[in-house]
Symmetry: C2
Subunit: 222 residues, 2 copies
């Protein structure tokens, strides 16, 4: 960044360079805010955020009209910025056996999404009652949980074109829970689990696949 070569064309290049730089600075402010909010919560003062960024507090108000808007930008970065674009196709790729597919996906998911900052922001926003949190859980069910349930049903029970029962969906939620809570214990509570994440995921997938065929028979919903 130190020896970034200035564009030769002054008029357009200069203006674009300046504008981009301003946008990048704004992004840097958001990312600094993420780290502050992650540590302290959304009650982190604007002065603390500014001090962390090495600027003065009123400057933030030139980039964000209010603290609440800064928080909304943080939401967008955290929730939208880490979603894998090829997860959907990855989950449906029947060239790979379902067990391997699930293990690969959850290892990828865990590495992409879960870290201390993300989980803490996720928890803080949930406790603040942010609508985006409920939205995220619903998206997770629609984009990940239910597709997995369908793929399992097709591979293990070979009933094409049928919907997954609610008990089957809930069983996939159990897998999701295992991965999620493993992350929370390790990254938020800081009680290091004694089994590595890949082993935990493989065992949880096996556990799900072992119980899954028993869930299709019987009642749809109570």
């Amino acid at each position: 960044m130190a020896n970034y070569r200035k564009p030769v064309a002054n008029q357009d290049g200069g203006q674009i360079k300046r504008k981009l730089s301003a946008a990048e600075r704004r992004t840097a402010y958001i990312e600094g805010a993420i780290r502050c909010f992650s540590e302290i919560g959304f009650d982190a003062s604007t002065r603390e955020i500014a001090r962390f960024l090495g600027v003065t507090q009123p400057l933030l108000y030139k980039y964000f009209p209010s603290k609440e808007e800064l928080i909304n930008e943080v939401y967008r970065h955290v929730y939208l910025g880490r979603w894998g674009k090829n997860w959907a196709s990855q989950l449906h790729n029947r060239a790979i056996p379902i067990r391997e597919r699930l293990i690969d996906f959850y290892i990828d998911y865990y590495r992409s999404v879960f870290d201390r900052d993300w989980l803490r922001i996720y928890l803080f926003s949930a406790l603040r009652g942010a609508k985006i949190n409920k939205w995220y859980v619903e998206m997770l069910e629609a984009q990940v949980i239910r597709p997995i349930a369908l793929e399992l049903k097709r591979e293990l029970i070979s009933t094409e074109g049928q919907n997954a029962s609610e008990a089957e969906v809930e069983a996939v939620w159990s897998l999701q829970s295992s991965v999620y809570y493993y992350g929370v214990r390790s990254l938020v509570y800081e009680v290091e689990p004694s089994v590595d994440v890949a082993t935990m995921i493989a065992n949880s997938v096996d556990s799900l696949m072992a119980v899954f065929p028993n869930l299709s028979s019987g009642r749809e919903q109570t």
Copy 2:
């Protein structure tokens, strides 16, 4: 409470009555604080708590030396107040099959511990970095998770007197995760799962029992 009969003995009875009443008031303050902290977080102001209790703010300082001490009392009430004293013996009662024992225990555990206030206080205190939270997770592992792993090992693999492997312990954590995250989704995120809690617990227990025998062979730890 309106027609509570005063004790006849004035000297002792009167004093005891007054002391008890003061202690009860203090307890009522703690419980009101729990409801405030649960909604707002530990940044709920002492003025808000006092308003919720129908008293003035400085009065709280006659019962608690500081806000931090009030928070500590809240911790004690929340974390220690709901622990079932007979859970340990319940989990070891071999007169009942292990599957039924686990289902009964987790239904009992869910009903006793999980509600909106408890879970939110739990999450808020975890994010504040309260040591009591780490302590709770460690106690859970020692009092619940590891005993369950041992009972499962003895019943499913019939190897008496042997310790549970870390993979086995982690598998029980997966069961715990399913129950926990079910509660969080339902009570904190307010995304109602479509399967009732008893069914979810039964399926999760079956899932654990199905995978458990595969975990004993092989490596102890990686």
